[in-house]
């Protein structure tokens, strides 16, 4: 019923021929091996902003959440966005993910300019090209773990790539608990299912919003390791918003925001 018009558009505007539908792993695997020690990556980007500005309210109550932010998110890497509350880190992620719109400036995902897209196309983009992991309440309580994992593909009305699904499911390590409802899983297990769902549709990028915020330390580590392995083993691009420096230490690079501006973009020392 729903055809992938967005993706064909994406292909046609991609002069580099970097087909996003193709498995991104091979070239990214190379990327992660040769990543530079510091500064933003110069390789292919999966998302970027140009002078992204977001203003809430007007007059006295005017708040500038993003102030002309220009940033490129490298493909095949694990990027953390940090900053204190109100620094604009969540707004940046929401705008990158097509969940929120900019006041001015431009956002590109897969070289598609998001502000030009209708709600229908944005929905399709989220479904097919983006994976989400939220802080909590990631899963539909009425669906089993496996049904939650395949949800985006089911919504698209297409069959999941069985081999890929098996691989993802194996990495999640839930085994026999896949047929269980979320309420029967631990917090850490629930977040791992959420990551698996995000991975299963082979998105261009996964956005994770404080994925460990609601977890105890051990479960948190479990999820972070899982995210890390998704990047290392599966070549997935991941953007994670967090205020926890320990969580950020799992990333390849850390963007730090304050008052709507990027104050640093550092590469982790491997």
């Amino acid at each position: 019923m729903l055809t992938d018009t967005t993706l064909t558009t994406t292909d046609s505007v991609d002069p580099a021929g970097d087909n996003p539908q193709a498995d991104p792993r091979p070239h990214l695997a190379g990327n992660s091996a040769n990543r530079p020690a510091n500064g933003p990556a110069n390789g292919p980007t999966v998302a970027r902003t140009e002078a992204a500005t977001k203003v809430y309210g007007a007059g006295e109550t005017k708040v500038t959440a993003l102030d002309a932010v220009s940033v490129a998110i490298p493909a095949g890497e694990f990027t953390a966005i940090m900053g204190p509350s109100g620094s604009g880190k969540s707004t940046l992620m929401h705008c990158l993910a097509g969940l929120d719109t900019l006041t001015s400036g431009r956002v590109f995902l897969d070289d598609v300019e998001l502000s030009s897209l209708s709600d229908r196309k944005l929905t399709k983009l989220r479904r097919d090209r983006i994976g989400f992991v939220f802080q909590a309440f990631n899963l539909l309580p009425t669906l089993t773990a496996l049904e939650n994992i395949t949800l985006p593909m089911d919504l698209a009305g297409r069959k999941p790539d069985q081999a890929w699904l098996d691989q993802v499911v194996r990495v999640v390590g839930l085994g026999t608990r896949l047929g269980h409802r979320p309420s029967e899983l631990s917090g850490g297990q629930q977040q791992r299912v959420a990551v698996a769902r995000a991975l299963a549709s082979k998105p261009a990028v996964i956005f994770a919003d404080e994925p460990t915020g609601n977890l105890d330390r051990n479960s948190g580590i479990e999820v972070l390791k899982f995210l890390r392995s998704a990047v290392d083993d599966l070549g997935q691009s991941i953007v994670m918003v967090t205020h926890d420096p320990y969580a950020a230490s799992y990333a390849d690079a850390t963007l730090t925001l304050s008052d709507g501006r990027i104050i640093s973009h550092e590469r982790a020392v491997a």
């Binding site: 479904r127 009425t142 089911d154 919504l155």
Partner: protein
């Protein structure tokens, strides 16, 4: 307490739309109830005024004590009284005037050839009473009728029939006569007495047609000014017993008015109001379910807020009273609004009736405090009862439990509930089945069918309660079935169906209570449809089995009848082979007042097959009677026995039982010979002529000849098939009205579904945000909500259809137990069932539009941020 009240008020005003939709169900139900009560009171007051006006100038009425049938019943026939009394009563000291009342039936034929009036209000033929106070009629034009051949008519008939003074009109008595209109009168200031037509003649003519010479219907008496009516009553009574002995009574005008009010209540008002009240009851029960549902969801949504209140130190009764006060406020406001709407509705109907020419004396609307108090109290009690149960359940939550929980789910169905449901459903079903057997047994022994009907009623109620209790169990397979069906039909829509199916199953109790409101309405609709279809089938069967003739000529109900003159002309038509007249009447047979059919017993045998068990109709003549098997059993008579039969004129005959038959549906239990009945029946008449057409004659040609012979304003002529169709048509007509009234209950139920859906959507805001974030399109989201609505409606509809057909079968079995060969009378109203399902699905789709649109409009980020 004041604080809690303030909290309740704030909640209500902060969510006006929800308060409105909660109240709406009650408003509709109460409006229906109030309109019924107020209209009933208004009509009652109208008739009371009319009767009082009619009797205003009368102080006493003298009439026969005896009659056949139940006094106050429509079919009651009162005996006549000696004309000599009039002159004697005039001489009683204190009597200012006395006049003979002579009444019968006379149908005036209008200028266009159709009969005026009838079909409800009476068509009165009478002797004109000159005394302006004893008669409520006033001559507007012309003068009183004085000799044979003159008539005075009411102004309504003159207007309706386009008849002017000096015209010659035809009047059916039932034989056609022609008279010159010499006067036109009004009833007081009105054109007619509640739509009754009047043809007034000179007294001699009226007596000849209606009561017989030297007889009168009653003597109306007016006292001289200042005379004590009680004393005069005694004096008149003495004179009466001097002249005619026992058997004649003297009543005051107040008693007469009261008796007439009681009669109209029994005939018309009581029946109409009872039926409307029953529908108002169904509407209110359905409204109760809707409110229960709304409050259940509201309480669960507010559990967080309640928990916070509890944690901050509010006691459980305080939390509970906040909900209760809210319910009282909603209930009170809705009931008051509903009552107001109801009064408006009643006023609108009154005006509608007035403008349609139905002048029932209702100058203005009558609002009794009892009606208002009843309507408001019923609405309030239902609202409070339906909301307190969920409130109590909600208040049981531990102070902090709700603060922690994220998704409230109650998938389990209590064991006690299941046990009680199974018990009620199985027990009820068993009672319904048993009642049929009981009714059959009672019929075989000619005993009363009352106990069987009681068992049936209780069983039906128990089955309904059981179905309500078990509905959550049915919701689960329904939800799963949906997932499968939609997946198979629309592979791309599979996920929408699956999500909707899971939502249906996640809280089966909520789904079920949302559906149950629909079950009630659909059950009643299906019950009536099943009964109607079965009755149609049965009537068809009965007519085909028992009536062997070709044509039925029948007088319109409430008309003057066919008349012996026309009947004999029909008999003599060359197209007619065999014919038999039927007269419906009353007689006292073997001590009991009974409906009887008088006919030519010998002729009827050739036209009908009544299942003769012993004796024979052939050759039966005057002096014989045919009775049903039931009658024979009950009265212990056999062929050859003698049965005493007495008539309204006081005559008594000993008739010999000539035949015992089994088919009672067409002819009832007692058949007399016309020659024995008609001479004693007052204004003699024939109601129906059954006939067969002569060899080689086309039935429709014969029908045309009969119509031509009948003349203007004559009886209905129908072939056998047309006759069957017209019976079916009458049943359909009644059914249409019932459908209309029950449609209201179904509408309330669907609003309940819409309400529940809107609240469920609200409750799942965060889930919707998540779904939208991971790629559910607005269209898919709307489809999910729509599917949920459809499944809920289909669940309710299927439940109602099943229950309705089963109960309809029970009713048909119990009600027709006395009928022969009715065992197979049950017919499933396939057409209606398909229509109901289609309508329910369509309505469910419509009900889902607003909740679905609201869900689709949610901002993804806002929805995700919802706690």
């Amino acid at each position: 307490m004041a604080r809690i009240l303030r909290l309740s008020l704030r909640r209500l005003t902060s969510d006006k739309r929800r308060a409105f939709s909660t109240g709406f169900a009650i408003i509709i139900g109460v409006a229906f109830l109030a309109a019924t009560l107020v209209l009933g009171d208004t009509m009652r007051a109208g008739f009371k005024g009319l009767f009082a006006e009619a009797n205003a100038g009368i102080d006493l009425a003298v009439r026969s004590e005896d009659g056949i049938g139940d006094a106050g019943d429509e079919m009651f026939v009162r005996g006549t009284t000696d004309e000599a009394l009039v002159e004697r009563i005039r001489q009683v000291p204190g009597v200012a005037a006395a006049a003979a009342q002579v009444e019968g039936t006379a149908q005036i034929i209008g200028a266009d050839g159709s009969a005026i009036g009838g079909g409800g209000p009476p068509t009165v033929g009478a002797a004109w009473i000159d005394d302006p106070e004893l008669s409520p009629y006033r001559i507007r034009e012309g003068r009183a009728p004085q000799v044979d051949g003159e008539v005075l008519i009411d102004a309504y008939s003159a207007r309706e029939g386009d008849i002017a003074l000096g015209d010659t009109v035809e009047i059916r008595l039932p034989d056609l006569i022609e008279s010159e209109v010499v006067g036109i009168a009004t009833f007081g200031e009105r054109d007619s007495f509640a739509g009754a037509t009047l043809a007034a003649f000179d007294q001699d003519s009226a007596q000849r047609w209606f009561t017989g010479d030297d007889q009168v219907s009653a003597v109306l008496v007016r006292a001289e000014p200042g005379v004590d009516v009680a004393q005069l009553d005694a004096l008149v009574s003495d004179t009466v017993s001097e002249v005619v002995g026992d058997g004649t009574e003297v009543i005051t005008s107040a008693e007469l008015t009261a008796e007439q009010e009681k009669a109209i209540e029994g005939d018309f008002l009581g029946m109409v109001t009872m039926m409307l009240l029953a529908f108002a009851g169904v509407a209110l029960v359905v409204a109760g379910f809707s409110i229960y549902n709304t409050f259940t969801i509201m309480v669960s949504q507010r559990s967080r807020e309640s928990s916070l209140l509890r944690a901050l130190g509010a006691s459980r009764p305080q939390v509970l009273s906040a909900v209760t006060i809210e319910a009282v406020l909603v209930g009170l406001v809705a009931s008051l609004v509903g009552t107001g709407v109801g009064v408006g509705l009643a006023e609108g109907l009154r005006r509608l009736m007035a403008s349609a020419g139905m002048d029932l004396g209702m100058e203005s609307i009558t609002i009794n405090s009892a009606a208002v108090v009843t309507a408001v109290a019923v609405g309030l009690v239902i609202t409070v009862l339906s909301s307190v149960i969920p409130a109590i359940k909600g208040s049981r939550a531990a102070p902090l439990a709700a603060l922690r929980s994220t998704a409230v789910e109650a998938t389990s169905v209590g064991r006690i509930r299941i046990a009680a449901g199974v018990f009620a459903l199985a027990g009820g079903a068993a009672m319904v089945v048993t009642s049929g057997q009981m009714a059959a047994d009672a019929a075989a022994e000619a005993a009363s069918g009352g106990p069987a009907m009681s068992v049936l009623g209780i069983g039906a109620l128990a089955a309904l309660v059981g179905a309500v209790l078990l509905a959550p169990l049915a919701a689960i397979p329904f939800g799963h079935l949906l997932s499968r069906v939609t997946g198979a039909l629309w592979p791309s829509g599979r996920i929408s169906g699956r999500l909707a199916g899971r939502n249906v199953v996640r809280n089966p109790r909520r789904t079920a209570s949302s559906a149950v409101a629909l079950v009630v309405g659909v059950t009643v609709v299906t019950l009536f449809a099943t009964m109607a279809v079965s009755m149609k089938g049965a009537m068809d069967d009965i007519v085909r089995r028992t009536f062997g003739g070709d044509i039925v000529v029948s007088a319109e109900w409430g008309s003057a009848g066919i008349g012996t003159d026309l009947a004999s002309r029909i008999h003599e038509l060359p197209e007619v082979d065999r014919a038999a007249d039927l007269s419906y009447g009353l007689a006292r047979v073997d001590g009991d007042d009974r409906d009887i059919v008088a006919t030519d017993l010998n002729a009827i045998a050739g036209l009908t097959d009544l299942g003769v068990e012993s004796g024979s109709f052939a050759g039966a003549g005057a002096g014989e009677v045919a009775v049903s098997r039931d009658f024979a059993l009950e009265n212990q008579v056999e062929v050859g026995d003698v049965v005493p039969v007495s008539f309204v004129d006081g005559t008594s005959l000993d008739l010999e039982v000539g035949a015992i038959y089994s088919e009672t549906d067409f002819m009832g239990n007692v058949m007399l010979h016309s020659d024995d009945y008609l001479p004693h029946a007052g204004q003699s008449t024939v109601d129906v002529v059954l006939l067969s057409v002569a060899e080689g004659i086309d039935v429709s040609d014969a029908a045309s000849s009969i119509e031509a012979a009948a003349g203007r304003g004559g009886p209905t002529v129908e072939t056998r098939d047309e006759f069957i169709d017209s019976i079916a048509g009458e049943i359909d007509q009644a059914l249409t009205l019932i459908y209309g009234l029950l449609g209201l209950a179904v509408l309330i139920a669907l609003m309940g579904i819409a309400n529940t859906l809107a609240l469920s959507v609200h409750e799942r805001t965060r889930e919707i945000g998540l779904l939208r974030a991971v790629g559910q399109s607005r269209r898919q989201l709307r489809a999910t909500v729509r599917w949920e609505s459809v499944v809920t409606a289909v669940l309710g509809t299927v439940g109602g259809l099943g229950l309705g057909v089963f109960l309809g079968w029970g009713v048909v079995r119990a009600a027709f137990a006395r009928s022969q060969g009715m065992d197979s009378a049950l017919a499933v109203p396939t057409g209606s069932i398909v229509a109901i399902v289609v309508l329910a699905v369509l309505a469910a789709v419509i009900a889902s539009v607003r909740p679905a649109r609201r869900a689709a409009r949610l901002d993804v980020l806002d929805a995700l941020a919802t706690v």
